[in-house]
């Protein structure tokens, strides 16, 4: 398990148990995660229509997770950049998308904060969100799968 995966699991545990800080040291790996007091505290420079300095998201086919049964025609939206993943475009607002939502090429599915800039990530395909891999506020790396999508057969 990569450190990033461990961090993800730890954050899930933190969220489930309403923890504000967790620190583990195993062998040579040391992970310390601490939540900020409020949901997110950064100043949202501009919450709408920020021109992205990054290329548009890629539709990259990842190996389907082992647990998946419906392996037919499932694709993923992967992260086009490194940053912090947010499900909504403002603190307290509704998530951009939820499981079961239909999306099209232009649908903003999440916000990734990178260098204090909020970048809107678009679905770039037509289909239905079937899973959200990442929790709100999580750190994500380039190429990391974010959403699982069942594409619509037009």
């Amino acid at each position: 398990m990569s450190v990033i995966d461990k961090v993800k699991q730890l954050i899930s545990i933190m969220n489930e148990n309403e923890l504000s800080e967790i620190e583990i040291q195993e062998d040579v790996t040391k992970i310390r995660i601490k939540k900020t007091e409020v949901g997110y505290t950064h100043t949202v420079a501009s919450s709408v229509a920020v021109p992205s300095i990054y290329p548009p998201p890629l539709n990259h086919k990842h190996p389907i997770p082992v647990l998946s049964k419906d392996s037919e025609n499932i694709t993923e939206i992967i992260s086009p950049m490194v940053g912090t993943f947010y499900r909504a475009n403002a603190p307290g607002a509704d998530p951009c998308v939820n499981v079961g939502d239909s999306v099209n090429e232009e649908t903003v599915v999440c916000i990734i904060e990178a260098m204090k800039i909020m970048n809107e990530v678009k679905a770039e395909l037509v289909g239905e969100i079937v899973d959200i891999y990442v929790n709100d506020g999580e750190a994500i790396e380039y190429g990391q799968p974010l959403f699982r999508v069942r594409p619509s057969t037009k």
Binding site: S2, V3, I4, V7, V28, T29, K30, I53, Y54, M81, V82, G83, T84, A114, M115, A139, I140, E141, Y142, G143, Q144
Partner: protein
């Protein structure tokens, strides 16, 4: 001391820096590209963040992505290694404005010394000899011809933002100068995104001698002796050693003094290298300052006993230089061979692909700095250097014998490497005598092609 550092580089130098951090008890965040994502050396880092696609432009040179990775991993400082962003003053600026410590000189120093014509002016102001040439960027063909006529042929055209031999062209007369100008500009543009070039007198039969300098944030500047990197192919260093086998103690002292002068003139901080050409007559000329850690830094580490990377980190963290100049007493002889994934028998063609068998040499006096292993896939996207083999012995003769022995032990199968070329060079009587110049390798190669 920092508690967490990001390494904005890849391969052997990323591993080199991770090792230093681990020994210092500093956590490390390694960035990587898609191509390097499963590389084994990343396991030595505490955290790895993929910052972009395989092509360096989108990953190792992608400043927003790297800074973003720095933010999500909450690091305090970035070590840029060599190459990539290590001499990019804009990157250092961004770090400074993001309150991240850039482990290297201040951005203004990078900017000043990164421009070769600017650096030349600084050297001249310090009364350090420079190669005669254009005082500034060449703007026209006529200007180039005027300069050439003034300083006399042969001349060499160089890129203002250059390095590593790219954008360099030697001209022996007006015709070749005119022809080479456009080519050199195009090369400079494509390699450095800056077409500006300048012209210098081309000095034949020279050695390449460089001085390692180190400055702290309190105005203390020392040198750690010199390295001799005369063994080059197309301006790419192949074998480096310290001390230089061909300069007198007096010349050594003069060159080191000149390096310190230049460093002091810009109030240099952290590690840097002042490069010189030394002519057969024993005259020396300033070439440029490399404002970063060098590939060949281990030879200085061996003879001085100083860990340059740890020292860089300490200085960047605000510590004072704890080494007095008179306490720097290089001892013994260190030699480094660069092992590249290239086929020396086939125009040095890069050899990406899988290493099927890998057995590095070991034993007394041998140091291997490498991130590769059996099963490692050399990606086609980056520099071809896959290992540095460094030996350290009391005398140069012993160091050469040890290097021969170690190169003979070194097994890399699956791809072709420059190990056989290194063996040939290290075993050459002319290398042993120290009587070589920067054209030695090319002359040798063209001779063996003719025969």
């Amino acid at each position: 001391m920092f508690s967490r550092i990001m390494i904005a580089n890849r391969g052997e130098i990323a591993l080199r820096i991770i090792r230093a951090c681990r020994e210092m008890g500093i956590e490390t965040v390694a960035i990587c590209s898609k191509a390097d994502k499963n590389a084994m050396y990343l396991k030595q880092a505490d955290i790895t963040v993929c910052v972009g696609p395989s092509e360096a432009d989108g990953s190792y040179l992608n400043i927003p992505s790297i800074i973003s990775a720095a933010e999500i991993t909450d690091i305090e400082a970035i070590h840029p290694g060599y190459g990539f962003l290590s001499e990019v003053s804009h990157f250092a600026e961004v770090c400074e404005s993001s309150k991240i410590v850039f482990i290297g000189p201040r951005s203004e120093v990078l900017k000043k010394l990164g421009n070769k014509t600017e650096a030349r002016k600084i050297a001249m102001a310090c009364k350090v000899p420079v190669v005669p040439g254009s005082e500034s960027v060449i703007k026209s063909q006529q200007q180039a011809l005027d300069v050439a006529h003034k300083i006399g042929y042969p001349v060499i055209i160089k890129a203002s933002s250059g390095g590593g031999g790219r954008g360099m062209r030697v001209a022996h007369n007006d015709i070749s100068l005119v022809n080479s100008l456009a080519v050199a500009q195009r090369e400079a543009e494509s390699a450095f995104k800056d077409p500006s070039i300048y012209i210098e007198k081309y000095i034949e039969d020279t050695r390449h001698v460089e001085v390692q300098i180190f400055g702290d944030n309190y105005g203390n500047i020392i040198h750690l002796g010199e390295r001799d990197c005369t063994l080059q192919r197309k301006h790419q260093k192949l074998i480096e050693e310290s001390p230089s086998p061909s300069i007198s103690d007096r010349l050594r002292e003069e060159i080191c003094k000149a390096a310190i002068k230049i460093a002091k003139a810009v109030n240099y901080t952290n590690a840097g290298t002042v490069e010189f050409l030394v002519s057969k007559a024993g005259d020396f000329y300033f070439i440029e300052v490399n404002t970063r850690l060098q590939v060949e830094h281990p030879v200085t580490e061996m003879v001085t006993g100083i860990d340059l990377v740890k020292q860089q980190i300490r200085i960047a963290c605000g510590e004072r230089l704890n080494i007095k100049q008179k306490r720097v007493r290089p001892r013994g002889v260190a030699i480094e061979c660069r092992i590249n994934a290239e086929d020396p028998n086939n125009g040095f063609r890069p050899q990406p692909g899988k290493i099927t068998l890998y057995n590095p040499p070991g034993g007394r006096g041998v140091r291997v700095d490498s991130h590769v292993h059996a099963g490692y896939e050399v990606p086609p996207y980056y520099d071809s250097m896959i290992s540095k083999l460094i030996v350290y012995q009391k005398t140069r003769e012993e160091a050469i014998a040890c290097m021969k022995r170690a190169l003979n032990e070194y097994v890399i199968e699956g791809i072709k490497t420059t190990i056989p070329l290194n063996l040939e060079l290290i075993a050459h009587s002319q290398f042993a005598s120290g009587n070589i110049n920067t054209n030695f390798v090319e002359n040798l190669l063209s001779k063996s092609q003719r025969s």
